[in-house]
């Protein structure tokens, strides 16, 4: 999974798009002194190669009942890690699923309303996946930072 790294022109374009992606290709081109066609082609290529994703993000502060939950998952047998992680990735409510080295086998992150909602989610959606041995959940009390300009972009 080795991806091309962005060159200087790519980075300059992304810098504009990271602030406000609704800015037109023409505006970016004018600011950078390149043609509009260059900007359009670069953006298209970066999106196709999954180097960037242009998307709407919404402010968690607008939903006061949303709390972040870290769910650490241990599998029965190590050869089940991949299949459990793949099943987890299908769950729409999970925003992050990673196979981990250390602490536990898999980390999944989601938003819940409260502890009851977390318990219900873990019991009904995670514990039923074949291969899940045990889970250990941590509830957030203050979501201080998330740099939304950075993520692992998965095909």
């Amino acid at each position: 999974m080795t991806r091309r790294k962005l060159d200087e022109v790519d980075k300059a374009i992304v810098e504009y798009l990271a602030r406000d992606a609704r800015v037109s290709n023409g505006q970016i081109a004018g600011a950078l002194g390149v043609t509009e066609g260059t900007v359009r082609a670069r953006v298209k290529r970066m999106e196709e190669e999954k180097l960037i994703r242009i998307t709407a993000v919404t402010n968690i502060d607008r939903f006061r009942d949303a709390t972040l939950a870290y769910i650490w998952i241990e599998v029965e047998r190590s050869d089940q890690t991949r299949s459990v992680a793949q099943a987890l990735a299908q769950i729409e409510e999970l925003g992050f699923v990673g196979v981990m080295l250390g602490r536990s086998d898999i980390l999944a992150i989601t938003m819940v309303r409260n502890t009851e909602h977390l318990a219900e989610f873990v019991h009904q959606r995670i514990n039923i996946i074949p291969g899940v041995r045990r889970t250990d959940s941590t509830l957030g009390v203050n979501f201080v930072k998330h740099d939304y300009r950075m993520a692992r972009i998965v095909a």
Binding site: I52, T55, T58, Y70, M100, F143, H146, R149, I153
Partner: protein
């Protein structure tokens, strides 16, 4: 800083079905033209334009480019539990949030006091980040890291808004 409470926030707005439908379409494709959104939802282009402006000005939604961490030059992603001593977890969390490689910071309850997600270019950079920057932050007692071998999903839709440095 990154603490939302410190920022003056515009008034909350009520979202209706049209707002939510527009947000959904822009989540899938942030550069979808207003005209195409209008056609999809059977409303006028002016309505779409006005709604998007209202969502942005009220600090409810932003349409942004998200860069892949590997394309940005970061080869490693870790989830690190932080135990705090002699300082409030909130204060330590704010200091950790100021480090660019620390891209997510949560004050939590449980065995750890703060959970962070970090990226590093390579192993020497990771050593520098963990051994010096994170361990050297006042109030940090112990760091318990886990390295991501593979990330199968990472779609942070709901996030705290802070102004990028």
């Amino acid at each position: 800083m990154n603490n939302l409470a410190a920022n003056a926030q515009p008034a909350l707005i009520e979202l209706d079905d049209t707002d939510n439908a527009i947000i959904e379409l822009l989540r899938r494709d942030g550069r979808m033209p207003y005209r195409a959104i209008a056609r999809e939802l059977a409303i006028t282009e002016a309505t779409v334009r006005g709604r998007v402006r209202r969502l942005e000005e009220s600090n409810t939604m932003r349409v942004v480019a998200v860069t892949d961490i590997e394309a940005a030059g970061y080869g490693m992603l870790l989830a690190i539990g932080v135990q705090v001593e002699n300082r409030s977890p909130e204060a330590v969390a704010r200091d950790l949030a100021a480090i660019p490689e620390v891209f997510s910071v949560n004050v939590v309850v449980g065995a750890q006091d703060v959970e962070i997600l970090v990226v590093a270019r390579d192993q020497p950079a990771l050593d520098e980040l963990i051994s010096r920057q994170l361990a050297g932050t006042p109030g940090v007692r112990r760091l318990t890291p886990a390295l991501a071998l593979d990330v199968l999903k990472n779609q942070p839709d709901w996030v705290p808004f802070h102004d990028p440095a």
